[in-house]
Amino acid sequence: MKFTEGSEIRDTRAPEGPIEDRWEKRKFAAKLVNPANKRKLNVIVVGTGLAGGSAAATLGELGYNVKSFCYQDTPRRAHSIAAQGGINAAKNYRGDGDSIYRLFYDTVKGGDFRARESNVYRLAQVSVNIIDQAVAQGVPFAREYGGLLDTRSFGGAQVSRTFYARGQTGQQLLLGAYQALERQVAAGTVEMFTRHEMLDLIVADGRARGIIVRDMVTGEIERHTADAVVLASGGYGNVFFLSTNAKGCNTTAIWRAHERGAYFANPCYTQIHPTCIPVSGEYQSKLTLMSESLRNDGRVWVPLRKGDERAPGDIPDDERDYYLERIYPAFGNLVPRDIASRAAKNVCDEGRGVGPGGLGVYLDFRDAINRLGRDAVEKKYGNLFEMYERITGENPYDVPMRIYPAVHYTMGGLWVDYDLQSTIPGLFVIGEANFSDHGANRLGASALMQGLADGYFVLPTTLGDYLAAGPFGEVDEQAVAEAELKVRSKIDRLLAVNGTRTPDSFHRELGKLMWDYCGMERTEESLRKALDRIPELRKEFWENVKVSGTAEELNQVLEKAGRVADFFDLAELMCLDALVRSESCGGHFRAESQDSEGEALRDDESFAHVSAWEYSPDGEPVLHKEPLEYEYVKMTQRSYK
């Protein structure tokens, strides 16, 4: 795949000056909208997860006229609901040395020096307000006997700053945001559109002015115009088919905005989560995550000897390899995700993996149960143990869990500036859908933090600044009609093929290809193979896919086909991005770029930049580099040893 290189991105609109003052400065400089005018300003928010739900609720509270969209039957089911482990915040309630600066530092380092300092610092600052907000909403976080909030530690950090609600932190935080959102629906500031899928962005006179959606029940194509559009449509991990994401997670909203001119940043940055339940059969439709919080008390090991087929309980301690503790004595089982995942892959590649196909490692609670007692372990992890047993039929109190890495999160996403605005004026992108805060690797419990920081606190300020110049008047009819036509013809095209393979079968094949060639380890050779193979498969898709039913009804096959079509295009860009970035960093491991001990080797000379890709209809994307500068955290090779 060819590409060209365009101009550098120099201005990200972050204020200058000491890093701790930048957000204050930005807030003060932001223009305010007078309350009477807010009602006349229309905002569209696509997505009702932590990012979109909190944003729509807050914009409604401020008095804007909001339309909120999701593809599920109710906003409460957004994929954020599934987050288990917790949410970080620099509260330092434990007095264990945490601070805003330390959270900032950990996040920049954890992201392997590929995130923007200004954004990350703001995230750490705002993190403390999120906990206050959630508690006031009645989010039932775990508490200690004294009545104060409990915390736990999470991968990549040596302090205990992760707040949690048993193993259902995402659910409880999302319900808090959902309830705030429904309160605004009742107040008449937010109009809710469930079972509506965004299929295109309307850009008129250089501004984002609305979206084209399909009513998933009637099939009707609708136009919605506004003064600004916010995308909070989540991540694109499902490009791999098997991932821990909900089945409906897709790239359609951001990809189609990308086709309209929004740059796509760092598409190759994918997070592979180390603790998932291994694949068990050919019909597998998704993978299930076991919260990383399990690594607090569970110990990861494989047999010392290759091909050791004894039951785990029969393998004595001195014949076990607690490889994370051995290789990384300082962090042990709590090393960041990318490191833990690759270490698991390495021991399995050596032939020491356990379970069917040798694709698994043990996560063992024997010592924790002996130390803390079964009750204490059950209190902490009961629901996770139960989830594991349900799926595998094995009881983790008696036999160690088997885990293997799986695709979990995508750090890449639409490029945004400090204000969370994309390269299309009036198009803002928040939550997992943007690329902004996690660099090349996200730390555990930081996605919930980022989604809520964006939605409750950052966007409402920066969007106000943009809207202060509005309302922007009638939307050019031609632009709307053109977008609608594009959507209709894509649907017609999909229905017209009438081939012999289902959308799912293409998706499975694409996913396997991506996992094999653009997964945990990438090489020039594998990526070139993928770049050869994807266009062939896409061609076959457009010639041979079978979509049953019609466009004018609830049609889940049609929905799926549209999403798979976009995954093909995204997959190609991911592989290109991974090929061009010939260094290793965070979750992006290029086998050619490793040190003598097999750790990821960054190349700061050539790659200390964000890769922001501009869409080009002729198939030759344009690469714009945004240089990254580190004024506060000194760039070093990460070490968790």
Binding site: E61, I81, Y178, A246, S285, L554
Partner: protein, 216 residues
């Protein structure tokens, strides 16, 4: 193979044979989003207790068994297509009062109000409702009491929920009635199928708050 993967296989076959696949709702496939839900062999979410449809596995069914699958049946949940129903009535019950009125940015420090661990834990238990609607589907009266009571109980156990406690209970119960859900006659069918084990005594809590609100 999970139950929904079995339906996937069936649907793949139907599509290729030129038939319409069976429409069903699902998303997380791990028992937390509340999107899936069907009556399997006469029981909402199937016979296995404390389980959502998506968490069922085929190893719990006998080989060659015939399995009957139906959508939720309740007047306030109209069928959209095949196994897909419209549960938006639940959203409207929450809109009536299932929240704490606290605009973003107005919250005091999280540690300014300690909460007894027992209360926090009990509130959490009630808050785990996933809004799936199995309780309604299983109830002979088509009552949404367990769903409504779970939210009322969650918020009324916490200090943050106190100021709006009675008005919330009244508004939510009134909305539940307005949506056409039936009354509760304590059959307990709801908790029996509830995948999250929401206890029946939440309904007593709801009734207490509701009566108090009406006595005011």
């Amino acid at each position: 193979m999970s139950f929904l993967e079995m339906l996937d296989v069936l649907n793949e076959r139907l599509i290729l044979e030129g038939d319409d696949p069976i429409a069903f709702d699902h998303d997380c496939r791990e028992g937390i989003c509340g999107m899936c839900g069907m009556v399997i062999n006469g029981v909402a979410h199937g016979e296995q207790r404390a389980t959502t449809t998506c968490q069922l596995h085929m190893r719990h069914f006998e080989d060659n068994a015939t399995i009957t699958i139906e959508p939720w049946r309740a007047a306030p949940f109209p069928v959209v297509k095949d196994l897909v129903v419209d549960r938006s009535a639940f959203d409207r019950i929450i809109q009536a009062g299932g929240f704490v009125s606290v605009p973003a940015g107005s919250a005091p420090d999280a540690h300014s109000i300690p909460v007894r661990k027992e209360d926090a834990d009990a509130a959490f238990d009630a808050a785990t409702c996933i809004g799936c609607g199995a309780c309604v589907a299983a109830c002979p009266n088509g009552s949404a009491s367990l769903f409504t009571a779970a939210k009322i109980t969650h918020l009324s156990l916490l200090p943050q929920g106190q100021p709006e406690r009675l008005s919330r209970a009244k508004a939510m119960v009134d909305q539940m009635d307005a949506e056409g859900f039936g009354g509760c006659t304590n059959t307990g069918e709801c908790t029996a199928v509830c995948p999250k084990g929401i206890p029946l005594d939440t309904i007593a809590q709801m009734n207490t708050d509701y009566l108090k609100a009406n006595a005011k």
